[in-house]
């Protein structure tokens, strides 16, 4: 048997402890305010659209989409996710992105452009982080979803 170093268990316990989420989710419109409410979010999404079009990692995926619909639906979605008074009326994330073959590279690229768009609009770091935190659970419904995928739960 390999001997275990004196404090190994202690350090392990400490790292498991720090691995636990730092705080629980509290729904609030603080984030919505920080993003500049509905109009601020629309500006961010518009900025994002321009960046998507210029980003060769992802632009091709968006060729020929209904840009106005995309703008409206993504704005609604971000508004709702940030605690604002909107309700998303687009299709569910899983069936929208099914069969597109969205890669991690592309998801990361879009996340990067969203961060840059928020920076461009002067959003504070904490608000950027919180919005990303709320988008992360969508990753599994967007990346590498097979064409015949069933809708989200």
């Amino acid at each position: 048997m390999m001997p275990v170093h004196r404090h190994t268990l202690l350090v392990l316990l400490l790292s498991v402890f720090t691995l636990m989420p730092a705080h629980a989710e509290e729904p609030s419109s603080e984030l919505y305010q920080a993003l500049g409410e509905r109009s601020g979010i629309e500006t961010i999404v518009k900025e994002l659209l321009g960046r998507i079009a210029d980003d060769e990692r992802i632009a091709s995926q968006f060729k020929g989409i209904d840009v106005r619909r995309f703008h409206r639906n993504l704005s609604d979605q971000l508004c709702q996710l940030s605690g604002g008074p909107c309700s998303y009326s687009g299709n569910d994330m899983r069936s929208v992105h099914a069969g597109m073959g969205v890669s991690d590279t592309q998801f990361n690229a879009l996340a990067e452009q969203l961060v840059r768009a928020m920076e461009e609009e002067g959003m504070p770091t904490w608000a950027q982080n919180r919005l990303l935190e709320r988008l992360v659970p969508l990753h599994e419904d967007i990346v590498d979803v097979p064409a015949e995928a069933a809708p989200t739960r």
């Binding site: 390999m2 001997p3 275990v4 170093h5 004196r6 404090h7 190994t8 350090v11 392990l12 400490l14 790292s15 498991v16 720090t18 691995l19 989420p21 730092a22 705080h23 990692r57 890669s103 991690d104 590279t105 592309q106 998801f107 990361n108 690229a109 996340a111 990067e112 961060v115 770091t125 904490w126 608000a127 982080n129 919180r130 990303l132 935190e133 992360v136 990753h139 599994e140 990346v143």
Partner: protein, 294 residues
């Protein structure tokens, strides 16, 4: 002049980093800072301990890597490290580090005599594979298995201090997770590593000794907080074996700040505390590292 030569891979890497400087193409698509930096052993992570994430910014359809120059200065020693790492599709990392340790002060310890006569140079060849998960997108983070094969280029020191071997291999399992909007709504990255090793002072004083000559399981942990996406502060802790009878070996720890002005460049400064090394007490001091990503 010591006989340090710039490994070709380093020269190639520097070329790759510098040549497209003007272009807007990023070096890869993963988010800022998520590859950590080139550790003193070449593997991506903190300065002293690896992370589960792979070097640089390559995501699942990309390749990339890093090259780095690092230096640690304590009361009696200077460690210079040239490191490089290559990342294929965020799945496999291959790394190399050349470590050169010099004794700066005249120490009248008979065992350290060979320091004056020869450079202490150790090469570390590393491989790391991402087993499962993603640093950000998986609830349980990212898990990787790695190995570091270390060999001395001149073998006088390990023998002089009573080490059994001048080559050795560490195997480690790392888990890393980034919590978006953690404390103070800042992104928090935490890492834990379990390492099987019989290296003395990371291998710089050889492998195995009179006290113990088998692999031992040690734990390493680190955490860092992104103040913004371009500033990361944190600390690391690394347990170490204690195999040599002639001098005790202490655990290592550090406090660091990393600046990421661009995905192509990371500058890390740290306070490192390495404890007693080869009988010279309480070695602590400054660490500085400059890394380019391609």
């Amino acid at each position: 002049m010591n006989k340090a030569w710039t490994p070709p891979i380093l020269a190639l890497g520097i070329g790759l980093v510098l040549s497209p400087m003007a272009s807007a193409d990023p070096p890869g698509s993963r988010l800022w800072g998520t590859g950590g930096v080139n550790s003193i052993e070449g593997s991506a992570g903190g300065g002293l301990s690896p992370w589960a994430t792979l070097a640089g910014y390559a995501s699942d359809e990309e390749w990339g890597g890093t090259v780095a120059l690092s230096r640690a200065n304590t009361q009696d020693y200077t460690l210079n490290v040239q490191g490089a790492a290559f990342n294929w599709r965020n799945r496999i990392e291959l790394s190399f580090a050349r470590q050169e340790l010099t004794l700066d002060t005249l120490a009248f310890t008979p065992t350290l005599q060979p320091f004056g006569e020869s450079d202490l140079t150790q090469d570390v060849f590393g491989v790391k594979a991402r087993l499962a998960g993603d640093l950000i997108y998986s609830p349980y983070g990212q898990w990787s298995l790695g190995a570091q094969h270390k060999r001395h280029r001149v073998s006088e020191i390990p023998a002089a201090v009573g080490a059994e071997d001048d080559t050795g291999t560490d195997v480690y399992l790392s888990g890393s997770k980034l919590f978006l909007a953690g404390p103070f709504d800042r992104n928090l990255v935490v890492n834990g590593t379990l390492r099987a090793t019989r290296a003395n002072q990371g291998g710089l004083l050889g492998f195995g000794g009179d006290q113990r000559d088998s692999h031992e399981l040690v734990a390493e942990a680190s955490a860092g907080l992104f103040l913004r996406r371009d500033w990361l502060i944190g600390g690391e802790y690394r347990q170490k074996p204690d195999n040599l009878g002639f001098a005790g070996e202490d655990d290592w720890w550090d406090l660091y700040v990393a600046w990421i002005p661009d995905r192509r460049l990371t500058v890390t400064a740290a306070y490192v505390n390495l404890g007693d090394i080869a009988g010279l007490a309480s070695q602590d001091g400054a660490y500085l590292s400059v890394e380019g990503s391609f």
